[in-house]
């Protein structure tokens, strides 16, 4: 009896999966070298269809969200105290991605309804989760607004509406610009297929962002052999100071 229900459920679920997203990325690995100056990732794909598009269906839309590793952080607000500006209130943000970019094929609300956004946490605001503030009077929304505003100015948070091209309701492509000030970690790229604001299918893949070569060597040494790293830094400084002095003496004589 139970497996009959299972089959029925499966059959009922099938029409919802009538369209599936097949996606690819131009690169799934980003190497941060010494001359790293940002990178552009091309995200492209197609819609796999088992039946023709029903007549009068809502237009197909695509949303792509690329998120960097999330870390907890604190947002501080300054206020005037005794004539000088001091950090007075703070709100702790439970998790905020170090990078977040959303690209859509149309204005955001046309692509994704409010409820679906809540469920899948696609928009920048939904991707950030705030926990309790340090002060009772602090209004958490002001602080998350400030976080988004500051990071948007630095191009760390991007909302790019209408930057996905869809052709024939089948093929789509877009590009996401990763800034030069990139943090190491696993970035997730999520691709949503929607009709009428409802998510039909979603696909998730990982982009590995890693320091390589000299960058990796210095980073690892600094964290795992801090004493050696510190002594090496001082030795290099002394050597550079001596070398410069020697060169100048040589040039003068």
């Amino acid at each position: 009896m139970r497996w009959v229900v299972a089959i029925l459920l499966l059959l009922a679920a099938l029409p919802a999966r009538a369209e599936e997203v097949v996606a690819g990325l131009s690169q799934t690995r980003v190497s941060i070298t010494a001359d790293f100056d940002g990178s552009e990732i091309l995200i492209f794909g197609a819609v796999k269809r088992f039946q023709p598009i029903p007549a009068g269906a809502e237009p197909l839309h695509v949303a792509v969200a690329v998120a960097g590793p999330s870390v907890p952080l604190t947002v501080w607000r300054k206020a005037r105290r005794a004539g000088i500006w001091v950090n007075t209130d703070s709100v702790e943000i439970d998790r905020a991605p170090s990078f977040y970019a959303v690209a859509t094929s149309a204005p955001f609300r046309e692509v994704l309804s409010y409820v679906e956004d809540l469920r899948h946490k696609v928009s920048i605001r939904r991707a950030i989760r705030a926990v309790g503030g340090a002060t009772i009077t602090a209004n958490t929304a002001d602080f998350t607004d400030a976080l988004i505003r500051i990071r948007e100015e630095d191009d760390l948070y991007q909302l790019k509406e209408g930057t996905i091209d869809i052709s024939e309701e089948t093929l789509f492509r877009t590009s996401i610009a990763l800034p030069a000030n990139l943090h190491e970690g696993n970035y997730t790229a999520r691709i949503f297929l929607t009709r009428g604001g409802q998510v039909i299918d979603a696909h998730e893949t990982v982009i590995y962002v890693q320091k390589v070569g000299l960058e990796r060597f210095l980073y690892v040494l600094a964290h795992e052999q801090a004493m050696i790293y510190g002594l090496l830094s001082i030795a290099l400084a002394i050597a550079a100071g001596w070398l410069a002095s020697a060169i100048f003496r040589y040039l003068q004589s």
Partner: protein
């Protein structure tokens, strides 16, 4: 040309960093200050996280001071004996200062305290130096530059007297030890070498000749900033070697030009220039505290960067 810094995790223009290092190097060679009070705020401005800027700044100062001291040693303008005495006091003071810093951090508001420290000390020292140098210049013009007698205060006659031949002083070791310790405390809290406090203290409190002051100050700055670099590298992992190397490259070249510029200038002119510079930085920091900020919000992650 952009350079990605492995510890700071930001990408910065190489030539901008070279320029910053160069300017600070020139100051270091001319005035015997490490230049940390200028370099650290400049690095913030370029977008380097504060913790990395403070730690890496200290590392850069080791190099520029060492380069400048070599030039001063050649001209015999370093009082090594005085340098060691100041350093002994300085290391004790800096160890104490690290504890004070940890206490401030627990209370919160460490940024504010550091800025207030900067404003108060830069203001007092810059103001005093400026007034004093103006008076000295006016006096020199009137009396035709008659050599003035060295002043002796009672502190100089405390026990443990020592001869400092290079400085031409025969005074107790207690005042230089105290000066070294006081500067060490401030250096640890403000994250600088402390030259801008050390130089006037040596001139006005110890009565040392200006020419010797610069080299001697640089000599002990090497050790204080080296100590700071090691502390930051082992506790905060915030020393960025790549950033330091670029700053050093600009800095050592600048320091060599600075020491040569200083030879061609009168002591009073040097002092008045340094006073103006100190007052300028003080004014900028003070305005930032008083004027309403453009962005009242700021983001700090768990590391405190």
């Amino acid at each position: 040309m952009q350079l990605y810094l492995p510890i700071a995790e930001v990408s910065v223009n190489v030539f901008l960093l070279l320029g910053l290092g160069g300017i600070v190097g020139i100051l270091s060679g001319m005035f015997g200050v490490g230049g940390g009070f200028l370099l650290t705020p400049l690095l913030f401005f370029v977008g380097i996280p504060p913790a990395v800027a403070v730690a890496t700044g200290a590392n850069q100062i080791v190099a520029s001071s060492f380069s400048a001291v070599l030039a001063h040693l050649k001209r015999k303008t370093v009082d090594l004996r005085m340098g060691w005495v100041l350093l002994a006091g300085g290391l004790v003071g800096s160890a104490g200062g690290v504890q004070v810093f940890a206490l401030l951090r627990r209370v919160g508001q460490v940024d504010l305290m550091v800025t207030l420290f900067y404003v108060v000390f830069l203001g007092i020292i810059g103001g005093l130096m400026f007034v004093e140098s103006l008076n000295a210049m006016r006096k020199a013009r009137r009396s035709g530059g008659a050599p003035k007698r060295k002043k002796h205060y009672w502190v100089h006659n405390l026990p443990f007297k020592m001869k400092f031949r290079t400085s031409g002083l025969y005074i107790s070791v207690i005042p230089p030890l105290l000066v070294g310790a006081a500067v060490g405390v401030l250096a640890a809290i403000m994250g600088v070498g402390g030259g801008f406090i050390m130089v006037p203290a040596m001139i006005y409190l110890l009565g040392m000749p200006t020419k010797v002051v610069v080299g001697t100050s640089l000599f002990q700055i090497i050790f204080v900033t080296g100590f700071t670099t090691l502390m930051h590298a082992t506790t905060n992992y915030s020393v960025d070697m790549l950033l330091a190397l670029v700053l050093i490259f600009g800095g050592v070249v600048g320091a060599q030009f600075g020491t040569r510029l200083a030879v061609h200038m009168k002591a009073e002119q040097l002092r008045i220039l340094l006073a103006l510079l100190v007052l300028g930085v003080c004014g900028k920091l003070g305005l930032d505290l008083i004027l309403p900020p453009a962005e009242p919000y700021s983001i700090k992650d768990a590391v405190g960067v």
